[in-house]
Amino acid sequence: MYIYDQYDQQIVEDRVKQFRDQTRRYFAGELSEDEYLPLRLQNGLYVQRHAPMLRIAVPYGLLSSKQLRMLAHITRTYDKGYAHITTRTNVQLNWPALENVPDILEELASVQMHAIQTSGNCIRNTTTDQFAGVARDERVDPRPWCEIIRQWSTFHPEFARLPRKFKIAVNGCALDRAAIEVHDIGLEALHNNAGELGFRVLVGGGLGRTPIVGSCINAFLPWQHLLSYLEAILRVYNRFGRRDNKYKARIKILVKALTPTVFAERVAEEWVHLKDGPITLTEEEVQRVAKHFNDPAYLDLSDASAQLNALDAEHPGFARWRSRNVVAHKKPGYAAVTLSLKKTGIAPGDVTDTQLDTIADLADQYSFSEARNTHEQNIVLADVEQNKLFELWGLLREHGFATPNIGLLSDIICCPGGDFCALANAKSIPVAEAIQERFADLDYLFDIGDLDLNISGCMNACGHHHVGHIGILGVDKKGEEFYQVSLGGSSGRQASLGKILGPSFAQDVMPDVISKLIDVYIEHRTAEEQFIDTFQRIGINAFKERVYASNH
């Protein structure tokens, strides 16, 4: 992974000092609440329902074991012993004291971490595929490009006060696990017919109040021009994005208002002036960054399929875990393992300080001292030897990471919701838990198969409900919490947004509602169909009729 040099280190250390002074001035009354707000927000510090919430940046999800141990230490020392993995692959603390935050940032800086631009109206953490660099279907490793974008966007002076938050995602695989179609900018790294590397550029996708799938404004942008082109997009947005209404301030609204074609022309006009200027990327810089992502010292192994199949036969639990939580690796004899943070009874994405320490140990022992946060709120060990999978499985079970549910209904993406978040209209964690309890039977869960169930506690859509095959949105009706259900969303290639099923439901009936939806799917499915396929074939009416039938 990327290792800071003296320049990178200086930037985070300067930032700690700057924020320490801003916080001092706030406590001294020299900065008003309103003035301090955007400063602390750009350092990931929200004031929440109970306490400030600190969001720590994990650039494109990558963590070293040293960083994991620091997160464990911070969680233990400054918080209540647990942290939360977010859908932007960052780490959130729910209970730090404001006056401790400068110290927390100083500790983070000592392991090359920070909280820069994890919230506020600026360019946020760039995200990518959790299997970047190891996926079998990968065409281009997106990590060096994410790091190049991270550096370009960190304290970019022109884009420090954007109309609204801004999210970039990069994909380099045949499948899209990074959900680039629902980002402000989605970049797909690819090669053209001449074998040259470049990017397909999508713009104006996003969830929130007005979910939209992004539009392609450049089918092939040569890599040298990545930053000048991003700068052109951001400049058009910074100058002409709406600032009169925060719900209409995202770039998607500008792109829609102008039409993608006109927006693309505006970007092209701006880009003419920036192209081939000093921010043209150099081969040396790309190499300098890319060498940090060279393959680790893999052993020369072959796939251990026979042994693993034998173990499967003997240990159905292992077979089950392997079928869901282990994926193929580009290197023979290796596998990528997802640690499930979706055990029933634990808020989705939550992890304790001791678990963080354990993950650090496991990363040291099994995966070249690295781990990755996923936007589905799990953690991946990307480089595990296949012949150690059985041993690892045993350890994961001991520590509560072996729930074999990756990609299944109980692998719920869920925001912190009304239990923690000041913006939420409704709680989301108890709904997730009730649904997980309803579908606790593993045979049943496996029989249902691949299903993305996403829950957001409000319109801001941090739980990505629009792109869940089943999406749940918490709504407030005259002070009471209700839940609106949508079906048919998808965040992969040809992303789609869910359709609303109908009137919303009370919290206590939500497991019944989900059961009925699943019943309809099981009755109608063909042998090959996943939930989303059946939905796309039969449409929403059969589901609607079943769910609302008993209400009359």
Binding site: D5, I11, D14, R15, K17, W152, P157, L227
Partner: protein
């Protein structure tokens, strides 16, 4: 005379900012006036003899409306109705980097310490700090961050073209 920050120092301001509704007469009678853009656009002929002259833009006014007239102005002031409105960060860069404006670019409006670092990188060189804040304190912010990744007006090469040096 109010104090402003100019070229990294606190100095007395020699200029007078005219309000958005100022009339031609007022502009003609004020020495070193910074006039609103619409007044300039309406009375260019009468005003272009004034020397020195400044002009100011609201946050939704674009510098493209002024680019043919830059030579007339010793000061271009860019207004920040609220400090979270970053549109003129782009305006300043365009003035400097695209239109080669070498006069003063002044930040006016809701201008306080924690924006100055970004503003200076974009090409601002004068700041009228909010009346309730101390400009001497604000000076410190200009040097708070010692390394920047990006190319901008103050440093025309990105860090990756300087790193090995």
């Amino acid at each position: 005379m109010p104090a402003i920050i100019k070229n990294n120092q606190v100095v007395d301001d020699q200029w007078t900012l005219l309000e958005a509704d100022a009339q031609l007469e007022q502009a003609l009678q004020t020495a070193q006036a910074i006039i609103p853009l619409p007044l300039w656009q309406q009375h260019k002929e009468q005003l272009q003899g004034l020397q020195p002259l400044g002009v100011w833009l609201e946050s939704d006014q674009v510098i493209e409306d002024l680019v043919d007239d830059l030579a007339h102005f010793a000061v271009i002031a860019l207004n920040f109705p609220v400090f979270t409105d970053g549109r003129h960060f782009s305006s300043a860069r365009l003035l400097r980097e695209r239109y080669a404006y070498r006069g003063e670019i002044r930040a006016i409006g809701d201008v306080a310490r924690d924006q100055l670092f970004f503003m200076q990188r974009c090409g601002f060189d004068a700041y009228v700090i909010r009346a309730d804040r101390c400009p001497v304190d604000a000076l410190q912010s200009l040097t708070e961050l010692s390394v920047s990744y990006q190319a901008a007006y103050d440093q025309n090469l990105p860090l990756y073209r300087r790193r090995s040096v």
